[in-house]
């Protein structure tokens, strides 16, 4: 092994592996173990029900959509915060972190209070035929809310360090502002945007607290997968069933994140020196 400048490589690596193993891998292994106790047939009996499939579909579908909305919205917010100087910019900047800091239940309750049919916004949307609380739209809204800071915070430093040279070069070469954005700025931001997207996606898939309040948890319609897991344990003490559902979520999330990482690498292939 090559000698490192700083000593303690073995010690620090060993320590990292122990912490990582006991905090992350061990619980996940236990989850898979418990799920495996069911056997294939028992597993399918848990997963293959209409209720569970609907919940999984809602969880992943809404999370994918929410992360996409976050990516677009987050890009806009980060752009405005970095590129423009305006009154209360720093306040706005600080506000972005709120979904990070707020207990998710508080976020869920406040969103519900706002968007419920008798709420401040909900009552104004109701005449238009739009109902947010207790519908899938509500699930989406909560997921967008909790995922937004991830996109903004990953993009901000990259946008800040982006050289104005490149845009100016494109400008003198005859590119319009639209071309400058789509041909120069966006491709350079894309890897970071995807990282933010993956983080927002992971958060949205795993989100529980803020979603269950606004979702209303109506059978087949607004139940999310994490809610079902809690239900199984809470009301039926069905640890294996919960583990089976958990393992499915784990597998699907892993696949999604690996795909995101691969996509991320592909979008920044130019930075890799062959």
């Amino acid at each position: 092994m090559a000698r490192h400048v700083l000593p303690g490589f073995r010690l620090s690596t060993g320590y990292t592996l122990v912490v990582l193993g006991s905090c992350v891998l061990l619980p996940l292994a236990a989850l898979l173990w418990t799920a495996c106790e069911l056997g294939p047939a028992g597993w399918w009996a848990q997963i293959g029900t209409r209720r569970v499939l609907a919940a999984l579909k809602l969880s992943f579908g809404a999370a994918l959509l929410a992360a996409t909305i976050d990516a677009l919205l987050g890009l806009l917010v980060a752009w405005v915060l970095v590129r423009y100087r305006f009154a209360f910019r720093r306040v706005c900047d600080a506000l972005v972190d709120l979904p990070f800091a707020l207990p998710t239940a508080v976020a869920g309750i406040s969103l519900t209070a706002l968007y419920a049919p008798n709420g401040w916004i909900g009552s104004r949307l109701a005449p238009l035929g739009i109902q947010v609380a207790y519908t899938r739209l509500g699930v989406l809204l909560a997921m967008v809310f909790v995922g937004l800071p991830f996109v903004v915070r990953t993009l901000q430093p990259v946008l800040e360090s982006m050289e104005s040279d490149l845009e100016e070069a494109a400008y003198t070469l005859g590119a319009s502002s639209v071309q400058r954005f789509f041909r120069v700025v966006l491709p350079l931001l894309l890897p970071t945007l995807l990282t933010g997207y993956a983080l927002a996606l992971a958060r949205a898939i795993g989100e529980y607290g803020s979603v269950i309040f606004i979702a209303g948890n109506r059978l087949f319609r607004t139940e999310i997968a994490p809610y079902l897991i809690v239900q199984k344990i809470d009301s039926q003490y069905d640890y294996r069933g919960a583990a089976a559902l958990g393992a499915v979520m784990l597998g699907a999330s892993l696949l999604l994140l690996v795909a995101m990482a691969w996509l991320n690498r592909w979008t920044r292939r130019w930075a890799v020196v062959r």
């Binding site: 490149l166 070069a169 003198t172 920044r268 130019w270 890799v272 020196v273």
Partner: protein, 381 residues
């Protein structure tokens, strides 16, 4: 395609970047804008490129107002100091960028774009690199890609911002000659900004010397070296060093010697500056002749000898430069006091604002030469 820049002024809060700058660039000319950092040369370049607007003044190209056009439509190629290549595009895509972003009416066919990219890459000697990314190129190669990219739009004016600023010394010197030849074969009107005197003098047809937002002097490299217009030009280009001289009437008093200067209207000047260049401090052939100079240190640099000298009563050392041959011939026994005399002195008289009222180049006669003033030593006013 003459470019007339007149009375440009640009001010950033509290700082004057360009102060009444006027300049005419001839068709096909290769002009260097030379100056220390903060002299306003980059501001001038950015205004010409359309990336900045002046507070006052005008820029005309063949009588057409250039400032009215935005950077997109100016047809000005700009090569950035740090290249500003698009890192996510290959070399070929970078070069093709300017053609691809044209509105579709003006956009050449894909095959035509490909052909012109190939042609340009051949000109900058990067044929085999079309499919590499900028991260895979060396500094000199990136520089040439940036040049090819700027030339792809067939600009009528090429601007280069410190074209060799980010390269190491060896590559820099090689690229100088290459760029000079390149300009000659293309004949495109070019303006480059640099803080490196050697670079400007070696490459440009004409040098524009800037200092603190003002143009100090415009001239060919030879003119600027031989007849610096201001003390700054003398210091910056010819390494002129101040001597404690005084002008009284038609006479220059220096180290107890008195020399005549003719036609020097410097009597009501606020300040008189006397400069000597390192290469004009020559060793006396007779021991004990000339001015006494104490040798502080001596460096042998590949054929030339550079020395720090304390001349007569001065307490600040000045630099002298001799060829190795002269040094071997003239220096006496290992003595640290030598005799020198000045072959040429530049004298400037300036007013309170630093404007030069009069200047003269003086060739003081000295005892080492049998004829004090011969036909070859002309006294200029």
């Amino acid at each position: 395609m003459a470019i007339e820049i007149s009375r440009l002024r640009r001010q950033f809060d509290g700082f004057i970047a360009l102060d009444d700058v006027s300049l005419t660039i001839g068709d096909g000319e290769f002009v260097a804008v030379l100056g220390p950092s903060g002299s306003g040369k980059t501001s001038l370049l950015r205004i010409l490129a359309g990336l900045d607007q002046p507070d006052a003044g005008s820029v005309l190209r063949d009588g057409q107002d250039l400032l009215a056009l935005d950077a997109r439509r100016r047809g000005v190629g700009l090569v950035f100091q740090h290249y500003a290549l698009f890192p996510h595009m290959t070399v070929a895509q970078n070069v093709a960028f300017g053609l691809r972003v044209r509105p579709w009416r003006l956009r050449p066919k894909t095959s035509a774009i490909k052909a012109s990219v190939e042609n340009l890459l051949r000109k900058v000697e990067l044929e085999g690199f079309a499919h590499r990314y900028p991260a895979q190129l060396s500094g000199g190669q990136r520089q040439r890609v940036a040049l090819a990219r700027a030339l792809a739009i067939e600009p009528r004016l090429l601007l280069l911002d410190e074209p060799f600023g980010a390269l190491d010394a060896q590559v820099r010197v090689n690229l100088r000659g290459w760029l000079r030849e390149f300009h000659r074969s293309f004949g495109i009107t070019s303006l480059f900004v640099t803080h490196d005197q050697d670079e400007a003098l070696e490459m440009a047809d004409r040098v524009v010397l800037m200092n603190r937002g003002r143009i100090e002097q415009i001239g060919t490299p030879e003119q600027i070296y031989r007849q610096p217009a201001t003390p700054f030009a003398s210091r910056f280009i010819a390494r002129g060093q101040s001597l404690p001289g005084e002008v009284k009437g038609q006479q220059l008093h220096l180290f107890g010697h008195v020399w005549r200067i003719e036609n020097f209207a410097g009597n009501d000047a606020h300040e008189v500056t006397v400069h000597v260049r390192p290469e004009d401090i020559v060793l006396t052939s007779l021991p004990g002749d000339g001015l006494k100079a104490k040798l502080l240190n001596l460096r042998h640099v590949a054929g030339t000898v550079r020395a720090s000298l304390l001349v007569e009563s001065m307490d600040e050392p000045i630099e002298a430069e001799w060829s190795e041959r002269d040094w071997a011939r003239h220096h006496g026994p290992a003595d640290d006091v030598i005799g020198v005399h000045f072959q040429a002195l530049s004298v400037f008289a300036s007013d309170r604002e630093g404007r030069v009222l009069a200047r003269a180049t003086l060739h003081p006669p000295h005892a080492s030469f049998p004829v004090a003033v011969g036909p070859w030593r002309r006294v200029e006013a």
